[in-house]
Amino acid sequence: MFELNRVIPFPLKEKMGEHKSDIWNKQIQFEPSERIKITAPSGTGKTTLIHQLYGLRIDYNGSIQFDGINIKHLEADQIAFQRQSSLSIIFQDLKLFGHLSARENIELKRVLQKPFYESSMINEMAKRLGVYDILDQPAGICSFGEQQRICIIRALIQPFKWILMDEPFSHLDLNNQHLARELIIEECTKRNAGFMLTDLNEDNSFTYSRILHL
């Protein structure tokens, strides 16, 4: 469970008075298994929020607690443990190792901790998302669409309680978006996990428990 207590990112401090936000400077909780959509225009801090929840950014006032522990107070090894066991992420800028093959990029997240799935699951997921044929190509030469699907599989191959997704379908056509959503819902249901998704577009294919405006 996430608990946000009057979080104001430093870069948005000056703008706080200009618009109303459901999250910034509010006391808010995200319960386990919730499915949350964050909507906001560009530049209002969607990526910042995702990074803060993931523990990548600590430049904010207020506090964020995950399962009762202030994220800011965690040691490097404790944050790593959270990222291996509880928090999964799909970055907007993908963050793949270009010289590793697509399979190796996914495999890395599978074996970083005690594997949640056998390696054969990579093939299964890749087949469902239509990237099976490019699994052994270097990730750097794959198209953005392919890379994004690799990132989705990478995020789903590990154990998690929450999956944070920052514009995860920005490079996918409608059909591939649909396939990816189905897979994500299936995996979250399996784990009884929650997700948070930021997206510029309107979409109705997920059933959200809350839609929040930044």
Binding site: D77, K95, E104, V111, L112, Q113
Partner: protein
Amino acid sequence: MKELKILLSKIIKDSSGRAKLITAIFGLTIAILLLLIAVQLQVNYNYLLNSKTNRDSIADFLVINKEVTDATLGNTQMENSIIKEIKSQPFTEAVGLLIPSRFKASIESNSTQFPFYTDISFESVPPDFIDLSGTNWTWNEQSPFVPIIIPTLFLDFYNFQFSLSQNLPQLTPAIVKMVLFKVTVYGKNSNRSFNGKIVGFSDRISSMLVPTEFMNWGNNLYATDTNTQVSRLIIRTKDPGNPELSKFLKTNKLTTDSDKTRFSKYRKVVDIVVQLSSIIGVILFVFSVLIFTLFIQITIANCKDEIKLLVILGTSPKQLSKFLMGKFFPIYCWLVSFTVFIIMVMQYFLHRVLDTQLIFISQLISPITLFVALFILGAIWWANKKTIQQSVYT
């Protein structure tokens, strides 16, 4: 986990260059080798000085007597007080009393082919101070002969001067040892003859030596005066070049064989060489560890982006540090094992070579050297761990 290790190896490569790695490995090998050689040499050196098997041939024996000057003429006996004082000095390991014969004696040949006769005198010395092994250095009235040790110098004098001038045959030590001489001890009213046999030649004490038992018997029965004071002392010392020893002798107006002190200078040179190689070894070691540390830092710096992304994705610094240690530490293990192996081979051959010169050292590497090798490995491990942790956790 094996799979993770393979993936991390693909991500974190030795992009800092093979040449630098080889230079660092080479430097470190030389450094560790020098250090371990210095340790092993020191161990061998101490063994030579202190072990029972070598002590007699290596440790120095000094014969000490009073300086003969106008002031000391006729009064060169060593008093009990000075003997006690010498015994209590830190440089003294053992003291032996040289007792001179107080009776007249002669030695003559039993052979007509090799006729000679001469008046002689003896000195006696305790068995511990004799540099001949396997000799039964004792005597009683039932003994078949009186064992005698003569200075090697006497045989040289005979072979290279006396025999040539008198047209006599030269003698080998073996022949001399086979000859039975007639030793006669003269008292006031009587005399007594024994068989005498030369049992060995000594470089240590420049007088004709007989067992203490024979000396005591002779002095008791045939002494011309009752003065039984000690004429000279023999001491065993680790370091005849010890300045304390020279100072003590000078203060008490005592003299000794100056040739022996010259040997100590050679030993000092060995000491300096050993110390120098330790110092050079330590300096090289520090520099090589520094090179290796820099090498690791460069490797990490070159893979900074990859390491950052790994951490973002959830790789723990502990996992990274373990991987990096696993990448570099086996190199050190191989390297130290290799140098230990070299030292083992060197020690074995040194043992074989010295054995032929009757200098005995162990054929096996010393546990102290192995301990130092492990200590070096521990020091490198610690330095690496610190470097990696600093780079990974910041």
